[in-house]
């Protein structure tokens, strides 16, 4: 049984005996035509002339076309199962090839769109594995967690020799924990500036230089602060209402600098009231505070102020 099926398979492969092929017809026709030719020779040998012999052989043979059709139909039917398997396998393999080719083209297109068609610096930036996280904890100086502290972060990178700086902001959860995920290139150098701002606590920042990897636990312990009253006045001493002020930094009693980057500090900008005043609860009396003031549209100028005792208003006077 198996050998017969294998023989069908062999015949199918070697005789191209499948639907639509002319080869089976050719073989059958040649075989039947041979029979007629041999019969014709016999009739000629019996005394007929060639034409008569040929005609007589054809008549004796019968309906050659009908016999041919029968042989072909039955031959194809005998290999129908092979043909069905052949078609099914061909279709399956075609579908697989089509799927793989389409998938490859899509991948290639996506890669081309996202990286290769971009400027080299941006392509290098996007090609980097940005899977590094910056995480940590913010507490009171006594170690208790601070919830809702603003964490302002800038990440500096140099992909492909170009410089990129991106800003992120987040807030701490109930356990004082913060985490900004997938912001650092784990296989390249980067630098992170983190400032933590929370009312009634002294603003702090850290600057970290990294050679790849991630920052799992950057800790801030914030001492309490006083409320600093600030007034912005013009050259004549008149208060300037509605002017925007960004608490940009402070130098603490130990001489350490703490900075809020402009691009990450947009959420803590305040505007002066009708008396040209505003207040900030991020400083300690005696600190040297730096404020960025928007003297004109998109023109921010830094001003240094010594933080006075509580209850005393510090003033910044803008020149004309």
């Amino acid at each position: 049984m198996i050998s017969r099926q294998l023989k069908y398979l062999y015949q199918y492969v070697h005789s191209s005996s499948w639907i639509g092929s002319s080869k089976p017809f050719d073989d059958i026709n040649e075989e039947l035509e041979f029979h007629i030719a041999e019969r014709t020779d016999a009739f000629i040998a019996g005394g007929m002339d060639a034409n008569q012999a040929r005609q007589a052989a054809i008549e004796k043979f019968g309906d050659k076309a009908a016999i041919t059709r029968t042989l072909h139909r039955e031959g194809v039917a005998g290999m129908a199962w092979v043909h069905r398997i052949h078609v099914a396998l061909t279709m399956t393999m075609s579908a697989c090839v089509f799927f793989l080719l389409a998938n490859w083209l899509i991948q290639k297109e996506v890669a081309s769109d996202s990286i290769h068609d971009l400027p080299p610096a941006v392509a290098s930036l996007m090609n980097e594995k940005w899977t590094g996280d910056v995480c940590g904890v913010v507490t009171h100086s006594d170690g208790d967690a601070i919830e809702g502290a603003s964490v302002l972060m800038s990440v500096k990178t140099w992909p492909g020799g170009s410089f990129f700086q991106r800003a992120y902001t987040t807030t701490t959860d109930a356990s004082g924990r913060y985490c900004v995920k997938d912001v650092c290139p784990v296989n390249d150098v980067y630098e992170v500036q983190i400032a933590v701002v929370v009312k009634h606590h002294q603003m702090q920042s850290k600057y970290l230089e990294m050679d790849g990897g991630t920052l799992e636990n950057v800790v801030f312990a914030l001492p309490e602060s006083e409320v600093m009253q600030l007034q912005v006045i013009d050259a004549t001493g008149e208060p300037i209402p509605g002017i925007r002020v960004l608490p940009h930094g402070r130098i603490d009693e130990s001489g350490r600098h703490h900075v809020v980057y402009f691009d990450s500090g947009q959420d803590i900008i305040q505007s002066t009231d009708g008396d040209g005043q505003t207040s900030f609860a991020f400083f300690r009396p005696g600190d040297q505070a730096t404020f960025l003031i928007e003297v004109e549209k998109d023109n921010w100028i830094p001003f240094d102020v010594r933080v006075p005792k509580t209850g005393v208003t510090a003033a910044i006077q803008l020149s004309s």
Partner: protein, 117 residues
């Protein structure tokens, strides 16, 4: 019904005769008809319309196999030969034929009187 049974009998007989013709060696279709004509002293006429479908059917069943060669007249011809399976089939068909033929002979030569209704 009677017509169908006759057709089956004839078909089975034709297969047996073709297999028998190939027992002495490979032959092409025309040689098979000539062999049957000669051997039966022209008593058996095998039409080509039956011969070739029978040859192709038996080849698919594995009783015979074919290959192309040259005839005595140097024409390209398809030759058939018996396979081991075909030899077994021939033996089986001859046995069945002899059994049937004996039974028919027995019936035809019986001198008994038919049963009265």
């Amino acid at each position: 019904m009677a017509r169908s049974e006759k057709a089956n009998l004839l078909q089975g007989t034709l297969d047996m005769l073709i297999l028998r013709s190939l027992q002495s060696g490979k032959k092409h279709g025309y040689q098979i008809t000539r062999w049957l004509d000669t051997t039966s002293e022209n008593a058996i006429l095998v039409e080509e319309g039956s011969l070739y479908p029978a040859l192709h059917r038996m080849e698919r069943r594995g009783w015979i196999e074919s290959d192309w060669g040259r005839s005595e007249s140097n024409r390209r011809a398809k030759f058939y030969k018996l396979t081991a399976s075909g030899r077994s089939q021939l033996k089986k068909e001859i046995t069945e034929w002899e059994s049937l033929s004996s039974a028919i002979s027995l019936i035809l030569t019986t001198r008994g009187v038919g049963l009265e209704p």
